[in-house]
Assembly symmetry: D2
Homo-oligomer: 373 residues x 4
């Protein structure tokens, strides 16, 4: 029986006005629901597994073969074989992946071993019940880029030391996957992504035609960076929140980071570390000209807009998760909003985030320490 | 007709297991409800107004008298007089407040002019429909301290320049209050507070008796500061989240700040500016010994606990919104949790927070600026 | 009678070995000499004054005319006329400067009013006894650029608010210049500049030919910036001091700043404020990847060298006082050394530097302040 | 033949006025002398060696015995025995040091093995030609404290990992000391110390008697910290340089650090890393209330003075190298000046400082790193 949250929304909507005790009570309840949801395990039948890796890395291709074979062979859900596996279509002709020897093991594998393309991810994300990544944090970012709309649950294996986004150890993959595909199920994080949309200013827009037209759109998992690019001049960027001018940014650039991205570029520029469950947009300036323009966290219910003024001397450049350098010319703007398509990552353990930062930032190793006599 | 959120919670609770699409859908709906709630105006009949001010400041006492008189005299809600007014019981004998001349104006005022005490705020917060503060941010913190449980809506007037928490200009009080008590109603922020509870270690606890007993408890609106106090030695503080040891803090101290407090002490120690709508706990270290121990934002659904190890050389000291220096001795701990009693502040305008930081931090005034030729 | 410091150097050089008490004694004496020199006024006959301004700014051209006229007309050094004045050769035909009406005032002015070109500054800096700048800090940087070798004493007027480098108020120019050209004399700061030299890697250097040849050379007063330019990739820059590899810089870039430049770009990137009398080279990383790679001050007796590794994926870009974007390709390097040609700026008063920072950074205006009740 | 720097000073003093080219020339020469001095090896006959260690640490006492025995026994300077050794007088009765078995080895040792006391260091520092420390950076700070006036050359051994101040590995002591006491000699750093003097305000000073009298005086090698101590209130500290009011510090405290101390407490509070050869005083605020009050480097030719205003609500506390908590009451002040008694530390190698920071701050280990795909 489905929970009818829509009905709740309708009911709230009917109340034009609300008393302060009702507001308080409702807010408390909503907080409680959020909390419950975070702790709820997800369980489902995993019939189709996608594997993402760097097809150019030989070692990773061998591990992909190993993993694919194990998934195909290990009996699941009452069958005497395993589940369908999608691997990168680039591996179809890879000698190291050696598809033929795999298909030779069982005639049914011919149907069960499949190949994904970026196009398939774009058009049919629902085909995949679970995505496994093999590699570093970059491979996870690539997976986010593949799924510009709905993202299946993603479980990330690291072959060497664990990263911020890769929290499962590859050597223990059998144990991890048996649990998740078995009775235990999995707990997931809904990691916020941003929908970033570039709008181009139409200088010669006639009457009745819009001044701006929509151009590129990207989902980002880490951050949008806007900087001055190769220009020696700094552009003054206008920052709007829900159409109100909040401030004019005078800096080498600014970073709009998700909580997930708080351990990446934003950290180098002085931003805080932000737990991925917090619904917030980090605005971290790069070399701001005003010392009091400090890193900030904005509410994710806000629609942000960054505009290059029409009379600006300089233009600006956008990079989306480090990719796709797009120039913002005079009059153009880019909007940033919490996406309706979060990135669903499988949690290795409740303190996963803390473990990743203390491991990667070497927390418990003292640096400068005042000496006592 | 009341919205039955409890029923929703029950329904969610029945599902032991949830599919990932259901999880995603529910999470999206809950986010939407949160968003709607933030934008919903509160409207109610304001029959009892409390005024908080510094009773020792002559200027403020004169303004309190002016405000009280106007509230008592201005006809509201179909009556030919105004509403009940509670002023500080210390003003009962104040020559400057001059209660007698006020009561002489209308015989009904004898009943309508009332006096509050900290005790009344503690036992009967529901007596007040609206609290007005006159003074600076310190007066707002004092109001938060008065209401250790439910807080009525608080509207804060500044007599001079506006502060982070005082967003209404006193000279325009008639206009502001006529709107709020009239058909327009008010929009409020539910500002998170923390419930901080000190637990004392019982060294000689017998078998069957608890190792720790609860001691002081405070609601804080800005922050809890834990530092080494007068001791030259730094204590290593153990930080637990939901009973997992997250890290050991080696620093002169650490600040647990609400988003509201992000513009106060936390900012001086290097913390980020955090919009008050974001449900997060800021952990800002003071002079950390490890350079990578950066300011952090933790999810407010976590129960935090800071403990002084039993074998620690030094003790630590807690201050709650700058008040009440409490020593944590070896084995003691203090817990920090998002309070179920938020601080309800009346919003002056949607961009109030941005206005306050750009005004107070002088954002649009350039500091260091690279010169162009 | 000239002080024979060279003789002292010779004497020191003769001692191959020195005892520790001698070393201590000599070091103390040298410190004392340095201190005395800083406090010594400079006095000389100023017969030739150069004026630098922005020839495109109308207001500044009018002020230049006013100043030139006053300098030419005011009797000095026993003559009944003033001193020779050099103005920008671009003003020769300026209607606003109106040379003709000036020359008409006194037949001797035809010889006394002269015009400078960048070429003259380069070949004959000794022609100028004093340089006056009218404009902002940018005009002072331009003056530094004009004098790539010996710099005459420079006195900088501001027309509006004073800057970091412009410490004299134009409205009081008569008083200031009468003192300096009279019996009072002037006190000067010898502001360190860097000599930055770009060396190009010769890929196909034959045997016996050098691997690197010298290319561009610049004197900088504020800073050398090395960054990744338009490239999305960060180059790992090798930092050498006196030919020892000190570290490999992983960052968006790094700034080598003089103490004078410590209030400019370096400050935006997190550098400290450094008094201009301190002989040090600031190394301030831009968005470093290692949190412990903090801003640093290196001794100015070191020869620094920054190299792009031969196998680097990316190149790097140099900017000298914000000018002259030069690409460093794989194998190239740039050296930074304290220049033997410091920038001699006339001091307005002993606390000039403190005044400039408290004024420009708005020191005595509190920003975030913890509120007391 | 001694270099007569005093004569140079006299000659400079005779010139009341100096031309700008003379000033430039002299300044350049003085810089050159400084540079030469830094690179000059110190050579002398080491006849008396003092060993400083923690007498309570058993391991260190065994190593002290080993070192003392080797120094006593190894023939030097044409004799068939070694040099005189001073050990801590607390070891006279130490069973672990076992003086008797040492004296039994050679009858001459009775005269050669001597014992130092803090008193002897205070009255006769010239008795020691070389000081060896065994332990951590704290032991080096303790040695600085022992020698409040002239400091003999100090060579610091570390038993475990090297620290900021301990740059020689104990296991290789024979090799290191043979070189230094042989023909190679040693290179030393003259590390700046501060002379800090507390002055007490005499409230009831009669006419003709001074308002302030001198109280405590300390030489510090790392830093002077002035903070609010146990008080919840922040005192506004007045900062004077050469008797000019520079600013009023509103902060939890401020740190006056030597370059040597730049890797200690100052670093935790956000200060820069400063090479020990740079003659500068670091002023690093602790949690400043004004965001633009940034860490600063002041020239060491300045006499700094920090005063608690007479009408201050709060007092302040001083700590000298982490020791000796002294209260500054209303009207008191403390002065900070570069000491005429620097700390002479033996250099292990030219890049010693860079090695120590890259080792201790883990420079070449990446922390946060932007991931490439």
């Amino acid at each position: 029986k489905a929970v009818n949250i829509d009905k709740v929304l309708d009911e709230i909507a009917e109340d034009e006005i609300i008393s302060h005790s009702r507001l308080l009570q409702t807010a408390t309840s909503v907080r409680e629901i959020s909390k419950q949801l975070q702790r709820r395990p997800v369980k489902m039948t995993v019939r189709n597994v996608m594997i993402v890796t760097k097809a150019r890395d030989n070692e990773l291709v061998y591990r992909t073969r190993e993993l694919a074979e194990w998934l195909l062979c290990t009996p699941r859900y009452g069958s005497d074989v395993g589940v369908n596996v999608y691997v990168d279509h680039k591996l179809r002709r890879s000698a190291r992946f050696d598809m033929q020897s795999l298909l030779a093991k069982d005639s049914r594998f011919k149907d069960m071993l499949r190949f994904w393309t970026p196009d398939l991810c774009w058009t049919s994300p629902e085909k995949f019940d679970l995505v496994l990544t093999l590699g570093g944090d970059g491979t996870v970012l690539f997976t986010s880029w593949l799924f510009q709309r709905i993202v299946p649950p993603v479980l990330s294996f690291s072959l060497g030391s664990l990263g911020f986004l890769t929290n499962f150890e590859f050597p223990r993959y059998k144990d991890s996957l048996d649990k998740i595909m078995g009775d235990v199920g999995m707990r997931v994080n809904l990691r916020m992504r941003f929908t970033c949309t570039v709008y181009r200013y139409q200088k010669h827009a006639g009457p009745g035609t819009p001044e701006h037209i929509e151009a590129e759109q990207f989902e980002v998992l880490n951050e949008l960076v806007i900087d001055r690019g190769p220009s020696p001049y700094v552009s003054n960027l206008e920052l709007y929140g829900d159409n109100n001018l909040l401030t004019v940014v005078q800096a080498d650039g600014c970073i709009f980071s998700t909580p997930t991205g708080s351990t990446a570029y934003s950290l180098s520029a002085g931003g805080s570390l932000v737990h991925p469950d917090i619904p917030a947009i980090l605005l971290t300036p790069i070399c701001p000209h005003t010392l009091s323009f400090r890193p900030m966290l904005l509410t994710d219910s806000m629609l942000l807009r960054v505009a290059v003024p029409r009379n600006s001397r300089a233009t600006a450049y956008c990079a989306f998760d480090g990719k796709g350098r797009v120039e913002l010319r005079q009059g153009d703007h880019v909007t940033i909003a919490a996406s309706q398509y979060p990135f669903m990552s499988v949690l290795s353990q409740p303190t996963e985030w803390f473990d990743s930062i203390s491991r990667t930032l070497r927390w418990n190793n003292r640096g400068a320490q005042q000496k006592a006599w």
